[in-house]
């Protein structure tokens, strides 16, 4: 809370001007240091925060952070207790991106992710997975039949009107729950082209008959919004230097 000297009689007493100014300069230098290490030009402008339900769900699914009820995250380090320093040999990133829909696209099965290589030109994607939540509807099923469906995730190469690829997975559902779909190649394509958007189209064959509903983007159900988890590492995949 910076209080101007006019209203705070004692503020000016403790610190002569130059040491206060030095503190302010030092603080600015530390801010610039943090932003430069995160490859950011300036801090992001958070106008509308991510729904906490979506954030807490996603963070809970990842090993990287234990989430407390208030949404604060404890990042476990190597010897277990929650702090935020753990030795790593190379710069690794984990990006969680929440699905968004495009008003222009009428199709309810279309969604997209706004992802970028975080300013790190040579970020190599080691793994990327799409997380989709499936709900079982209370419909009568034939005796002995099981809820097996085929989920087809189409992803488009970067650029308007470019090619679509397919990731297909047969899933048997016994209860409501999350399922993952590998999209490493798709995200590597986006990073490789320096793009910032990944278009997807999610289809489910057999869902209607089996009484299964994939949760897509719905403001009424933020906790089950699809999200993409990207694990990336700085540095070129080909020339990996190992320290012995």
């Amino acid at each position: 809370q910076t209080v101007s000297r006019e209203t705070c009689a004692s503020c000016g007493l403790g610190q002569p001007d130059e040491s206060r100014q030095m503190n302010v300069d030092f603080l600015e230098a530390v801010k610039r240091h943090i932003l430069s290490r995160l490859q950011m030009k300036e801090r992001p402008n958070i106008t509308h925060p991510i729904p906490k339900a979506a954030m807490v769900t996603a963070l809970r699914k990842l090993h990287s952070g234990k989430v407390r009820e208030d949404g604060r995250v404890e990042i476990p380090n190597l010897d277990g207790h929650a702090s935020y320093t753990n030795e790593v040999e190379e710069e690794t990133s984990e990006i969680i991106s929440f699905a968004e829909t495009d008003e222009l696209l009428s199709s309810k099965t279309s969604l997209f992710f706004a992802i970028s290589n975080e300013g790190n030109q040579n970020l190599h994607v080691s793994q990327a997975n799409l997380w989709l939540y499936f709900k079982l509807l209370p419909v009568p099923l034939e005796k002995g039949s099981r809820r097996k469906v085929t989920v087809k995730v189409y992803y488009q190469e970067p650029g308007v009107g470019s090619k679509w690829h397919l990731v297909e997975k047969r899933v048997e559902l016994k209860r409501n729950g999350w399922h993952t779909f590998p999209l490493t190649d798709a995200v590597q394509l986006v990073f490789g082209e320096g793009e910032r958007r990944q278009n997807l189209d999610v289809r489910c064959e057999g869902c209607e008959g089996a009484g299964v509903l994939p949760a897509l983007v719905s403001p009424a159900d933020d906790a089950h919004r699809p999200f993409l988890v990207v694990r990336a590492r700085a540095g070129d995949a080909k020339h990996r230097i190992r320290k012995r």
């Binding site: 801090r43 991510i50 990006i95």
Partner: protein, 116 residues
Amino acid sequence: GLECDGSSGGLCCRQQFYIDFRLIGWNDWIIAPSGYYGNYCEGNCPAYMAGVPGSASSFHTAVVNQYRMRGMSPGSVNSCCIPTKLSTMSMLYFDDEYNIVKRDVPNMIVEECGCA
């Protein structure tokens, strides 16, 4: 390494400097941790520091110090007070696309200082 706790007599030491992200208004985009140890090194590296165990910042400096202690000073270059041990900082934050990013940033926190 020495801590700058008033008893290091102006010698090369580590000054702790904690920044609470709430106080600088960054807690809206940085989810964890709640602050950053922006520690730094300050202080002098006089010639007699050469013999102080643990004050050398590297093997190379330790060897040069041995020469200096035997009066064979290789070059009259003074050594300076720099970080000798750095640790990683893991951060969880929102980027400008509202994605949540967890980043392990190596060499982010100064743990020790020494003369080089």
